[in-house]
Symmetry: C2
Subunit: 197 residues, 2 copies
């Protein structure tokens, strides 16, 4: 028998992710998670008051794994246009790896996301704030002319939805997708660089 | 009894759309369409060689109803920025009306579209060509600085996917969607107006 270990939120979330992977979002229950950990479901509920709360926490953890490397780029140094491109390349590559390597888990998280608009909204706000930060740096560096970096950050995220929003995942294997991104990139970079007449 | 009328492709397509509406895309058959018209299924097959061909023609007709009013704007006269905005407002309003007024039929057409990438590809190319035409006019009018109107047309369509691509239909009732579109519009308009340094 395994040594008894302390039941941390992190251990519960790991087990919950594993249970979602095995049973799928329609069937996975808190009892399954408790069983996988060898504890009572009451012990799980002491950390997460409901199945919905547990699922939201699993989703949040997954989304944090997407945004953490992006935060490093957003909060880093260097020319803003390079960081902006690196930020998008990193986001797009991460999404693509997730959908190609583990399409079932990608679908599971898309289901969780559809049920947790608030968690997704927070994630989107985090990403938009990263972009606003880079745009503001670009303005300070004299390479971008945006008057409202926050609005520009949100606009950049919206204008590139086709390349990172899960609803478009089926299009990412299209051989023209990289050229399409370059076209949008060119257009929005010109927009950022230009003070409007 | 109704007077016998000539069986035209147009009559078959109308009946097919009606049958899809009543039975849904999973159940509707060519036999249902023939029955609705009071003809043999052989008569239908003389115009459309397969169920897939009939469905593609129904989809094409539906997409043509979306693109026809847009073609009028694209091929019209007047300042390019105004026409560009009118083109997008018209597209976005048409999609929104379709999804709000008849969500089941919208879902049916989304299913047909997923099965007919070629028809959808042709439609997207038509829309991109409209945009290229308006951008080229804007360059001739001295208001846009785009070097490659065709690439800009495609980029404009991609950059606005969130506001007209059916995969985002659930987001169109979000109260912030109009502001979000304005943000992307501002950014891409600056991009079109600016010759890159």
């Amino acid at each position: 028998m395994a040594e008894p270990t302390i039941l941390t939120p992190e251990r519960i979330l790991e087990a919950a992710e594993d249970v979602l992977r095995r049973f799928g979002p329609a069937k996975a229950t808190v009892v399954d998670v408790a069983r996988a950990l060898g504890v009572s479901h009451g012990s799980v509920y002491r950390h997460f008051p409901s199945k919905a709360a547990l699922r939201e926490a699993v989703l949040e953890r997954w989304l944090d794994r997407v945004s953490s490397p992006l935060a490093v780029i957003a909060n880093g140094d260097g020319p803003a246009p390079d960081r902006l491109r690196r930020w998008f390349d990193t986001l797009i590559a991460a999404k693509r790896v997730k959908v190609l390597d583990d399409p079932e888990m990608f679908a599971t998280y898309s289901t969780l996301a559809a049920d947790s608009r608030e968690v997704v909204g927070k994630h989107v706000a985090t990403l938009a704030a990263h972009l606003a930060r880079i745009v503001a740096d670009g303005v300070a560096q004299g390479v971008f002319a945006a008057e409202n970096p926050e609005a520009s950050g949100r606009a950049l995220l919206d204008a590139t939805a086709r390349f990172h929003h899960p609803a478009h995942a089926a299009e990412w294997s299209d051989p023209t997708i990289a050229t399409a991104f370059d076209g949008v990139w060119e257009l929005v970079m010109r927009g950022l660089e230009s003070g409007r007449a």
